[in-house]
Symmetry: C2
Subunit: 260 residues, 2 copies
């Protein structure tokens, strides 16, 4: 399907969860094109909050929407995880050398990593043994300002292209929004133990039926100074190395002691 | 909304990802009713493979479909994670004492934990500080035989009701399918490092358009004898303690050494 596998530049598969038309992915594509051959596979419509969802009840469709030298772009009706599967198996018919996802409009730091379609795409690549990085900006708006991200995105991607990542590890990179204060640098962190506290907005439709909009506020009780939230609040770019082993290894001995 | 909070039996919130009508959740409900007051909030339609998806673009609707002594049942149009949020915030207006999810028709061992709506519901409860257990049977069929699961489900749930779980930890319990050999017991394990290898089934519709069905085969290269896959293959029930910290703590020092 693709012609992009025919020479030796690194092949970079780009996706996101805000849809192919979002400002964040257009920025990420522009930053990746000088680094290799770029193939974009992204959802036609926004997929925020899709987590690690995959599409198994309906067929997936792919449409090529652009082809230039060392560049191809496809849109599909799938989730971000589907985009990685389709990109490797149907478009490239090989593993890309790097997967990048984003740049997300909004934070994927702390517990957001669990809900994030952007980071699910990264984890999916990681499960498949592909070096992968998720980039997110701490500004949710459609018109988010990405002017200040270039050096961080490029530097981190170049490093991973050159040297790879530890086995079974991918990166969750979050970048502070533009402010009066310049970004202070990069911090390597752990995920803060914060959570969303739900506040449903419950309403009645014109026929008297109840319905509920999911809303919430972010609560961070984790006061650790080595967390992504702490780094971001102090105007650093945060990098959390992430893996897909959900085992709570520290709890195995205690559960074993139950003698069930 | 609910009347179920008015006395002192433990309140057990039940959900799944195969829909409220699946045999697995009916079995789980039957096993939980002797243990406490049971509130079911489950999706009207199957939600397998939804991962940690949440519903933010459409409103959620809840419908009460049953009410008996110490029992209420609701169906909704949301994902398994939505069911936990709605159950706590809208139905109970308090945290339940226990969340149980399943019994899933099919394995959620190894990497399946990442894609599973059943386990996403459990993780969502865990993030919210609620003791939570996911149960899955290694038989995918709609008519799966759950006759042999009672003692394991009841024993594990009773233990968690009595003593709780370590902070930030939930349980992923998988049960072998019925076979000629009786189940040998329970093993506490780590998640095996296996993966799904995609094999898209690509077809053409009657108008000549290409479409792709996601299929795959499970590949386990993890030969560890302390894994959930190993336990299940040897006819043990597996319990993996699971947490929502995706940080690859072992990789932090190496990524720090990059001096970006």
């Amino acid at each position: 399907m693709t012609k992009i596998t025919q020479n030796h530049k690194p092949i970079i598969l780009v996706t996101n969860d805000d849809s192919y038309s979002a400002g964040g992915i257009r920025k990420l594509i522009a930053l990746m094109r000088p680094l290799g051959k770029v193939v974009v596979v992204a959802s036609e419509f926004p997929m925020s909050g899709m987590g690690h969802a995959i599409t198994i009840k309906t067929p997936l469709r792919l449409k090529k929407v652009a082809e230039e030298t060392d560049y191809e772009e496809y849109i599909c009706n799938g989730t971000p995880v589907d985009c990685i599967k389709l990109g490797s198996q149907v478009v490239l018919k090989r593993k890309p050398d790097l997967v990048v996802s984003g740049i997300n409009h909004g934070s994927n730091a702390s517990i957001n990593v669990i809900y994030s379609g952007t980071m699910a795409a990264v984890l999916e690549a990681c499960i498949d043994g592909i070096p992968a990085i998720g980039f997110s900006l701490l500004e949710y708006s459609h018109d988010a300002n990405f002017d200040h991200v270039d050096q961080y995105v490029t530097k981190i991607a170049q490093k991973v292209i050159a040297d790879g990542l530890p086995e079974g590890v991918c990166l969750n990179v979050n970048i502070p929004a533009v402010s009066d204060e310049p970004i202070k640098g990069i911090q390597v962190c752990r995920q803060a133990h914060a959570r969303w506290v739900e506040e449903f907005d419950s309403r009645q439709d014109p026929r008297g039926g109840d319905y509920h909009w999911l809303t919430g506020r972010f609560e961070n009780d984790d006061k650790g100074e080595e967390t992504d939230q702490f780094a971001l609040e102090h105007n650093y770019v945060s990098i959390v190395p992430v893996h897909y082993d959900l085992t709570a290894h520290q709890a195995i001995a205690e559960v074993k002691s139950w003698k069930l």
